[in-house]
């Protein structure tokens, strides 16, 4: 019985320190690698690429904040779009036809899609593998939508929320396991 108490107690203290390490990891701030911000009027049925990143990895996070006057559809797609010279100007080689084709034929490449109407919108995404990511705006209405956006790419040690959740779950279990052993050790020391 005493041995089991020791084994569980030491397992508990180990869980506590692992939780502490994870909490420490989660509070280390992320570093902003790059960012794009702008204010654009989107014509009806117009598509705009707001952000494009290749080789996004699990230590990185894409954060998006948008303020819209009008109606806007926001997509995060698992694609890489090429920046090319078209009609005398540099632009992404991605238009409404490409978007519609992708939405119909490759729905697996849609990480998220949301509609925003006259308001603010914020969302972030951390991948679980190495992937491409592109933020696309689309105005589905018949009126001009005015979009103010801020997309940032951040790099950290680990996804903070995930790590913090694990730490919050593991620490109480560790404490419950460790208390009997710690009390026993304290009593023995006091007895000596």
């Amino acid at each position: 019985m005493k041995r089991w108490k020791t084994i569980l107690g030491r397992g508990g203290t180990t869980l506590i320190v692992i939780s502490l390490a994870l909490l420490l990891v989660s509070i280390i701030p992320q570093l902003q690698i790059s960012g794009v911000e702008g204010y654009v009027p989107l014509l009806p049925e117009q598509v705009q690429i707001a952000f494009d990143s290749q080789n996004l990895n699990p230590q990185q996070e894409v954060e998006l904040a948008v303020t819209v006057e009008g109606t806007l559809k926001v997509y995060l797609l698992e694609i890489s779009v090429e920046f090319q010279f078209v009609n005398g100007t540099f632009d992404y080689g991605f238009n409404l036809t490409d978007l519609q084709e992708l939405l119909e034929e490759h729905p697996d490449q849609i990480i998220w899609k949301d509609q925003v109407e006259n308001g603010n919108y914020e969302r972030s995404y951390t991948p679980t593998r190495i992937m491409n990511a592109t933020v696309v705006f689309y105005n589905p209405s018949s009126e001009i939508a005015y979009v103010e956006y801020d997309v940032t790419l951040k790099s950290g040690l680990a996804p903070g929320d995930k790590v913090r959740t694990i730490a919050y779950c593991a620490a109480p279990i560790g404490i419950i396991l460790a208390i009997p052993w710690l009390l026993n050790s304290w009593k023995q020391r006091k007895h000596k």
Partner: protein, 274 residues
Amino acid sequence: MKDMGKGKPFLEVLASAIHEDYRFPFLELFAFLYALGTFVLANFTVSVYSQATTNEAIAYTVTTSLISGSLIVFILLILKNVAYGLGSDLEKGIIQSYFSYPLRRRGILTAKLLSALGVSLLLFLGIQISALYILAPDIVLPQFGTVLLTYAANLSYPLLISAIMLLMTLILRRGGIALVVGIILYFAMSIISGIAFVVALATGSPLALQIVSVIAPSYALQYHYGGLSGVSEVFSVTWAPTLTETLLYTGASYVIVASLFVLGYIYFSRRLNL
């Protein structure tokens, strides 16, 4: 009934060894360092841009990125347990007291090694694989074989060091010199591999790298996933071992490690006069 009779003394010795090796708060301290080192020293950005082209290569580079930081903590723990722990047990007469148990000598050594290496390995792999799963589940799960091979290849050399330290500690009956030799061997490998790389470039033959890979198969795995790409064309060295060859190098290294541990067992069972 006979097995149960032998099992209980074994568990007694194992419990005693674990108690000695992981006195409070050593286990907790190393668990903290493992967890912190795994996340703080991992850098997916560099590894992903450097060489990864296939899913296997991505899984390999991500796993290697995670291992590199914690491996030094693992080495420290086995240096402490095998050289210092076993050495002081021999000096203090704790091992001699185990001989009074109704247990064969090899059982006593197995219990000591399970405590010194088994628990350390369990802690290391448990934290590492959990961290990989937290960070990149979609890389780890589909390529779990590559992840395991990467761990096997990277752990072979530390286990070789521990086998050498075990032999030295048993022969010298103290751990001080074995501890120093262990530290030297750990750092010597990076120097030896550097020399082997230069020799390979100078001679245009990968023989030196192949010899190093027999004791440290992580190098064969590195070259399998394109470690020499770019340099090979300039210096006309081409060594890209196939997966089968890499598995052979890993297998050969573990045969060497196992042979040294068997030598340790033979010495402990038959030659060690205490």
